[in-house]
Symmetry: C2
Subunit: 334 residues, 2 copies
């Protein structure tokens, strides 16, 4: 098994944690560990090799943090420009095939997800591996806990993949949740390298051809590859799709409100991600993400405070989608 870790762009929804030069997945957020490191740790016993697809800057951070996790050797695809998930996965699979590993099971995972129930994750990956070994393309369906309109959904019938659904409106999401047949699309997959490439060739031949043509991954060769997700290029069209439902305590940490939900409350309802505990004086139900400075909160409730070395965000809970406005206002100076 090879764990292909995709390190994508640098989201702005978690500013000031996430920056172009230091995306959220590399930030030492959880007892000094980053989401990237937690991803490596989580998959270390499930995979024999690692392969990282990323840009040059993030590859530097990935190499450092791989070393911290005790992984000295890993394959890498440095993308001069991102072309979404299908090309990144295809280029990695092509490299495996070229190395005589067409049968290799590839576990594709993002680098920026949180899982609080590792046992169920392990179970699901093992089951997905069994199905992938039989020639299927396996995706993971996260049991939805709310009618979230921020995720794509996967429709399943047993372990069979029925369809992929775009982000729904609230009414549709509620119907999905009630039906019990829909799962959140986590962006994780398992398949044999050769099987994936064959399906890509079949369903998106132009993507396959352009990836084959990129024998050296130059900017020009990458730009010739259509920018397309694995969902559109393969998973929505394949007849070999399977779904493993799971409940791994998953979060994509898409906002600070999500981070709030994914952080255990203390007795006073405050939630803390910091090496130095804040002082709370009659302050309740706040999330404090700290960088080691002494922080004190007095008589405030429902705030999210994110303190980094060079920037500070204070927002009301429930308003964290407005973080992108801050980033757009700051862009000229950042």
């Amino acid at each position: 098994v090879t764990n292909l870790i995709l390190c994508g762009g640098s989201g702005t929804r978690l500013w000031p944690l996430s920056r172009p030069e230091m995306p959220k997945q590399f930030y030492p957020l959880f007892s000094g560990r980053s989401l990237f490191e937690m991803t490596v740790d989580r998959n270390k016993d499930l995979a024999d090799h690692f392969y990282v697809a990323s840009n040059l800057l993030q590859m530097g951070l990935a190499t450092e943090q791989m070393a911290k996790c005790g992984v000295a050797d890993f394959g890498s695809l440095v993308e001069p420009v991102g072309r979404n998930t299908a090309p990144a996965i295809a280029l990695a699979c092509l490299a495996l095939v070229a190395a005589g590993k067409a049968e290799e099971l590839v576990l594709v995972t993002p680098s920026d997800h949180l899982m609080t129930k590792p046992a169920d994750y392990e179970r699901a990956v093992k089951r997905a591996g069994e199905l992938a070994a039989q020639g299927y393309l396996v995706t993971f369906g996260i049991n939805p806990t709310s009618p979230d309109t921020g995720f794509g959904y996967i429709e399943a019938k047993g372990e069979n993949l029925v369809s992929f659904r775009e982000k729904p409106d609230l009414a549709t999401a509620k119907a999905y949740l009630e039906s019990g047949r829909y799962f959140w699309n986590s962006g994780m997959f398992v398949f044999r390298a050769g099987v994936f490439l064959a399906e890509l060739q079949k369903h998106s031949p132009e993507v396959y051809r352009a990836c084959r043509a990129a024998t050296t991954v130059t900017h020009e060769a990458m730009m010739a590859i259509p920018s397309i997700s694995i969902d559109y290029a393969v998973m929505e069209k394949t007849t070999l799709g399977k779904v493993v439902a799971c409940d791994p305590g998953w979060s994509d940490l898409g906002s600070f409100d999500a981070l709030y939900e994914d952080t255990e409350p203390r007795k006073d309802g405050n939630r803390v991600l910091s090496s130095l505990p804040p002082v709370f004086v009659e302050a309740r139900n706040n999330l404090v993400v700290g960088s080691g400075r002494q922080i004190a909160l007095i008589d405030v409730e429902g705030l999210i405070v994110v303190d980094t070395a060079d920037a500070l965000l204070i927002t009301k809970r429930g308003s964290t989608q407005k973080v992108k406005h801050v980033v757009s206002l700051l862009k000229p100076v950042l």
Copy 2:
């Protein structure tokens, strides 16, 4: 005229701006200037000499900031231990008398007050100087703008000092305000050095004797001096008291709520004391005291945010008197 600047203890009410090693009066809060520097600037044209009474640590900061204000030479009294205002003033006056300057007019000022109306301050100091030259002990009565229970009051009849009053309860403070005969006690004075010492000898002979005995200001000699304020030791007892009423836009910055009131609002109601302007996204009526990091506020109202190099305070407006609880909770680690 000698301006005697008293640099007292290090208040905890403005943590994290005010620290034992960096009291609030030395913090570059107002367009990069500290209250100490503003005090020196304010008095530079009114006084011929400066004299600073302080502890060793603050004397270092005072010397640095005096130089920034273009004052190379000033007298100094380094107190090994603070004994309140009467001994500090007495020791400074004794030094002046020893230098043959018994007639010197001494303008006693704190170092941590803000004055937004310098013209009225100048007028009041000049009038106080005239009265002091006639042998009076002159204090400044700040026209009260509210029935504040946090200040001592001075009762006056015209320019005559009638009595000093301790911090009143609210009903008493309201009666004071209505009567028009009561003023806030600002802790500023003007008198001749020799006149002050004569009145101290008359009304608090034991303080006078102990100060005289402290020919070198050792810890032991200081501890032998009663710890007593000029109000108790002299001003409440003297028959030579005068009051100059004034309205110099005065604030003692006793809390962050006071600092909020003393800072001009922007159009959105936010108030900012920072070299780097914060980003406000639907945030109103907050005070942000910054240290140069990028700060962003989203959807919050009525907060006071104080950001320093190594600590961050976030408090609701109106709750800033609880800052002392933070300090007491932090004491073991600070």
